[in-house]
């Protein structure tokens, strides 16, 4: 469905994407997470063809990046959402049915469906100029969902919404996925991604520093232990639990199921080591996210989280 292969995007001296590789399969609901300036919006714009890669390549829906015909099967909500204020909500949607090349017979139904999905059916004939920011974002979401696209790219879809609106959007996104669409949701709201997405990709300084199912990313928090008197053979034995990183007296094992932490301690003691401290990973997406983006940027390893985490430990 989506393949990005070491894509680099620079704007003058600024590097927005620094070798981003990403694979998304059909029907996945993937959250793109990252701090401001991580390259999330640039990645989305590359997928929809609004920008071109400086280097690297990629495919979307089987077509090269920027392919015009493929865009007929993609819905997009920009981060900077703004719709013609002098049109009515229904007219905006109708315009997009024409631009998307929907068959004329499908257009009225597609407009009505989109209005119903985003809860704007009763305001369909109101001018957009009278809409609050939240309502405009709902309208934008309706535009993105028009005609049941195969791929939906949502760039910060709840930035202007209140808690009720956010709950609605989560339901809308899930239902689009249930209808078979692949959804990429770009957000800096961790809770939003945590509640909706099957898979998370964390971007930092233009690279994917972690990628995988939510549980895997969180579990990858692993454990850190301060250990002395552990000989090399004992250290090697710990590799059975997960990837091992050594930093002085500190040993980190990631990923690791929390239930196995006592087994790790037992193995160290059995090998003659002495355990002075045990720090389990905090086990939340937020903690993992902070851990990944506040340190120095690790090398990219988008499809192999343990390798990326190893590198983190070494850094």
């Amino acid at each position: 469905m989506i393949e990005l292969d070491h894509v680099v995007k620079t704007y003058g001296r600024t590097t927005a994407l620094d070798g981003l590789s990403l694979t998304v399969g059909r029907g996945e609901l993937v959250g793109l997470l990252g701090p401001n300036g991580a390259g999330k919006t640039t990645a989305i714009k590359l997928l929809i063809g609004l920008t071109r890669p400086t280097r690297g390549s990629g495919r979307v829906l089987g077509a090269p990046l920027g392919d015009r015909a493929a865009r007929a099967r993609i819905g997009y909500l920009p981060e900077l959402f703004r719709y013609q204020p002098w049109l009515r909500a229904r007219e905006v949607l109708r315009l997009h049915t024409e631009l998307a090349g929907l068959a004329p017979a499908r257009r009225p139904g597609a407009v009505d469906d989109a209005l119903a999905w985003v809860g704007l059916a009763e305001r369909a004939d109101d001018p957009v100029s009278g809409f609050s920011k939240g309502m405009q974002q709902r309208l934008g979401l309706g535009v993105a969902l028009l005609g049941d696209p195969e791929l939906i790219l949502l760039d910060e879809p709840t930035s202007a919404l209140d808690p009720i609106g956010r709950t609605d959007v989560r339901a809308i996104v899930r239902s689009a996925r249930d209808r078979g669409a692949t959804v990429i949701l770009n957000s800096h709201l961790l809770s939003e991604v945590e509640q909706v997405c099957d898979r998370v990709v964390i971007l930092h300084q233009g690279r994917a520093v972690a990628s995988g199912p939510l549980e895997e990313i969180v579990a990858a928090g692993g454990v850190r232990l301060r250990v002395t008197d552990l000989d090399p053979a004992g250290r090697q034995a710990l590799a059975a639990f997960g990837a091992v990183g050594i930093d002085g007296e500190w040993v980190a094992i990631r990923p690791l199921d929390r239930a196995r932490i006592p087994d790790v301690v037992e193995a160290i003691v059995a090998a003659g080591g002495r355990v002075h401290a045990v720090e389990p990973g905090r086990g939340s997406l937020e903690a993992r996210f902070l851990e990944l983006v506040t340190g120095p940027p690790p090398p990219a390893a988008p499809t192999d989280p343990p390798a990326a985490l190893d590198a983190l430990d070494a850094s």
């Binding site: 493929a70 920009p78 002098w86 631009l99």
Partner: protein, 283 residues
């Protein structure tokens, strides 16, 4: 392209641009009509010759057309600059350009919609002003349709320049450059006439080149020619044609056909360059 052109016309109607332009035309034509009527009535009461009145009416019409050409330049700047540039700045363009449409089609569609409105405004106001002039004075210009066509052509040239610049530069900068370009183009036309009158060859060449670079002033000469009674042309030719040509409100001949063709090509080239650039631009 047609969808975008329709959308542009609808935008200009809903944003009241069309109605404001129509109202302003009616007001300005009414004022011109009233002024001409007073002028002609007073002149006749003073026993001024009909021939002189006719020349006077034609000169007033040319001055009105000049004022109108400036208004059109400003209108082109106000309408054309934000047509692409404003949509990019506000974010409206992002959702549209993410659709399976060529960026060039969006650009040409916006241009086409703006052209329809500006040309309709020019034709309506121009013909109305000429009709009122004929009604109150009894005299009409020799080539009213030609004059209005050249006026519309000048407006389209400026609109094209503004819209093209708006796809590359911020919309305010695009509008400012187009208005300044219009002024400089007119000055280049004046300098070309002066250079011809005084035989300054280099100045003449530079001025002539700039007239081809931005053909708005060349087309303006067509407007004058269409409004000028043949008698004025004959009188000027009889005295000193080269000196008369230095007058920016006089034209002894319409722009040559090759210039008219070049103006059409120029519009296509500028639009094409803008589309080429716009297709490659990161948004």
């Amino acid at each position: 392209m047609i969808v975008i052109a329709r959308l542009t016309i609808r935008e200009l109607v809903r944003r009241r641009v069309v109605w404001v332009l129509a109202a302003l035309s009616i007001v300005s034509v009414a004022l011109v009509g009233w002024g001409l009527e007073r002028l002609v009535t007073l002149a006749r009461a003073d026993g001024v010759l009909e021939l002189e009145i006719r020349i006077g009416v034609s000169q007033v019409l040319i001055l009105v057309a000049f004022m109108f050409s400036f208004v059109l330049a400003m209108t082109a700047a106000f309408i054309g600059a934000p047509a692409i540039g404003g949509d990019l700045e506000s974010g409206v363009a992002l959702a549209i350009l993410a659709r399976p449409v060529r960026r060039a089609s969006v650009l040409v569609g916006r241009w086409l919609g703006c052209v329809c409105v500006v040309v309709a405004y020019t034709v309506m106001s121009g013909l109305l002003a000429i009709a009122v002039a004929i009604g109150v004075s009894g005299f009409g210009p020799p080539e009213p349709l030609l004059a209005v066509a050249f006026l519309a052509g000048q407006a389209v040239v400026l609109l094209t320049l503004t819209l093209a610049l708006g796809s590359v530069l911020p919309s305010i900068a695009a509008g400012a450059i187009a208005v300044v370009g219009f002024g400089l183009g007119w000055m280049a036309g004046v300098m070309a006439g002066v250079a011809a009158a005084f035989g300054v060859e280099l100045l003449g060449r530079v001025a002539e080149a700039s007239r081809w670079l931005l053909p708005s002033d060349g087309l303006w000469r067509g407007v004058i020619y269409g409004l000028e009674p043949p008698l004025v042309v004959l009188l000027a030719a009889g005295r000193a044609a080269r000196v008369a040509d230095a007058n920016p409100f006089y034209a002894s001949a319409p722009p040559p056909l090759v210039f008219v063709i070049w103006s059409v090509v120029w519009i296509g080239l500028v639009l094409g360059l803008a589309a080429w650039w716009f297709e490659r631009r990161d948004l």
